[in-house]
Amino acid sequence: MNVVSHKAGEITLQVRGLTTRFGTPARGATVVDGVDLALRRGRTTALVGESGSGKSATALSIMGLIEPPGRIIAGEVLLDGEDLLKLDEREMTKVRGRRIGMIFQDPLTSLNPALSIGQQIAETILAHQDVSEAEAKQRAVELLTHVGVIDAARRVNDYPHHFSGGMRQRVLIATAISCQPQIIIADEPTTALDVTVQAKILRLLHDLQQEMHASLLLITHDLGVVASMADEVLVMYAGRIVERADVDSLFHRPRHPYTKALLACMAGIEDDRSRPLEPIEGTAPDLTDPPPGCRFAPRCPVAEDRCRKQDPRLLAASDSHAVACLLAQAGPAHG
């Protein structure tokens, strides 16, 4: 599709110090707290965390979709050197859909039930490209065929409720790639799908991303999905990124106690029944009143006194591995 004119691995989107808060300055919750991340051309970055960790809020902040009472209070989102946070809504509308494609978890609520699939895809194309309605419709058929919708020329006139969950997700993906964005953000794109359908959608996303040479930001809570899709992984806990690593290091040499605990409490298909389940005790902190120091300290099996006082910073341990844990940073004894 795209003519590849850029180097693989160059940074396409850079986020620095992104901080998003809901509520008032006096009472509220900082749901995204100083997040740094970089997406690279042709690469998949997975943002993994549990509910309430701030991973979806991060995505919404990047796309300028945080609505009051939420607001972005600090940081920058640089796309080709331009800070998206400084754009007004009209300018941002030109970015969304054209330069950043978006795919959400629930395809049924993301689609308009009163418009045909073709109208919805054409709408995105017409909003960003100078083409006729007929051309847009023709393009919609091509896109649907491209994402694996069989008999697209006929199905383009169908409505969302005519499609199965997996097919609806294909329709959303077709919409997301309709303007060939450099960046695709997919927020739990397969969470609502059955496992055999999930496999197909993951493969499709992967193939499209490779073909378009786009950056994919994949938000998920599923470590299996992360392991199969990601080049780089960001682990988020209570609004902060606690670990960043290439996918192999993350699964084979995790350094943050939270990452280690997450991997230990999974019930994998390959696991022996005799391996005990090791839950992480307790619950994630209340972000309206977060604990001082490391936010994982109250649940951390190895936390020391200083962890409850001092905020750990995300520091690079190597080129491809960074961790926000005082103990892991101190030396290999805990890492």
Binding site: E50, S51, S164, G165, G166, D194, V195, T196, V197, Q198, A199, K200, L202, R203, H206, H221, D222, L223, G224, V225, V226, A227, S228, M229, A230, V247, D248, F251, H252, A261, L262, L263, C265, M266, A267, G268, I269, E270, D271, R273, L277, E278, P279, I280, E281, T283
Partner: protein, 327 residues
């Protein structure tokens, strides 16, 4: 093999179709199952395969068209209203969405004790004492009895729902996707609680889930359902390690493994179509999607055949294994 506590035979349920022009859906067809005392049976399959309908038939929450459900030898379906009420004490269910399965206008304590009140058991004081005891048993505090469901987290609500399922001292508990909407760290807590309770109370479980990883971890046996039928059933390890039905195999190969050295997206198994594809009447339901289909599959329906200790599958390939090698 221990004596079966629960025995399900020839269970059938069809939705719609009668008097209308539409064909209706055979939600559950010819299901036979047993559950031994202290055993956990996993029921897996994708959306629409009939696993939840089956659980509701077993609990007699919906009426079956045909078949029997016996608990310790007594038939649930032909029982009188009074007998049914007594039998309900022996089998309870925990649903996926704990918060919406609890009454928001009742405190945790009243929610837990409600089945006792409905069954006319105990005095108010006794019911309250029981609720307090159960709150502690499921890892909450007795004094949590005064709090309302919305004041608890998702994991805590599921603990309350489990306490409520225990209040009638049942022998069997059905968990219908009971941990599916929980975060992985909380899910492990609840799974451990479920396993602890089984050990302490000698309970038998039917564990319904679309997550084969979780099912394999906690179940003794696994039954795989496809379009209303059990296509494979057997010891959990055998079903996961040496599946004998192509659908089970497809399910297992589609699960992303949390190890990038062993599994990348390129290795995920893909099968054609989805389960809404209608099968030919009287043929194998999986035939339209099966990568190994051959002559007999589109003509007749394979029966569940014993293939090893307690391992059964309904697939013609098991009669002629050369077919599979050839494909």
């Amino acid at each position: 093999m221990a004596e079966a506590l629960l025995e399900v035979g020839g269970l059938m349920k069809r939705f719609g179709g009668r008097g209308s022009r539409r064909a209706g859906v055979q939600a559950v067809a010819e299901v036979d199952l047993t559950l031994a005392r202290g055993e956990t049976l996993g029921l897996v399959g994708e959306s629409g395969c009939g696993k939840s309908t089956l659980s509701r038939l077993i609990l007699s929450l919906i009426e079956s068209d045909q078949g029997h459900v016996r608990i310790a030898g007594a038939d649930f379906l032909t029982a009188t209203k009074r007998q049914k009420r007594l039998m309900r004490r022996r089998i309870q269910i925990v649903f996926q969405d704990a918060l919406s399965s609890l009454n928001p206008r009742m405190t945790a304590g009243v929610n837990i004790a409600e089945p006792m009140r409905l069954q006319g058991l105990g005095s108010t004081a006794e019911r309250r004492a029981e609720a307090r005891r159960l709150l502690e048993l499921v890892g909450l505090q007795a004094d949590d009895e005064h709090r309302y469901p919305h004041e608890f987290s998702g994991g805590q609500c599921q603990r309350i729902a489990i306490a409520r399922a225990l209040v009638l001292r049942p022998e069997i508990i059905v968990f219908d996707e009971a941990v599916s909407s929980l975060d992985v760290s909380i899910r492990a807590q609840i799974l451990r609680l479920i396993l602890d309770l089984q050990q302490r109370l000698g309970l038998s479980y039917i564990f319904i889930s679309h997550d084969l990883g979780v099912v394999k971890r906690i179940c003794d046996r696994i039954a795989v359902m496809y379009l209303g039928r059990i296509v494979e059933i057997g010891p959990a390890d055998a079903v996961c390690r040496t599946p004998r039905h192509p659908y089970t195999e497809a399910l297992l190969r589609a699960i992303p493994i949390a190890d990038p050295r062993r599994m990348r997206v390129e290795n995920l198994g893909l099968i054609e179509g989805d389960s809404v594809i209608a099968a030919k009447p009287g043929a194998c339901a999986f035939e339209p999607r099966c990568p190994h289909r051959f002559a007999p599959c589109g003509v007749s329906r394979p029966q569940l055949v014993e293939l090893g200790t307690g391992h059964r599958a309904a697939c013609f390939l098991n009669d002629s294994p050369e077919q599979k090698r050839g494909s």
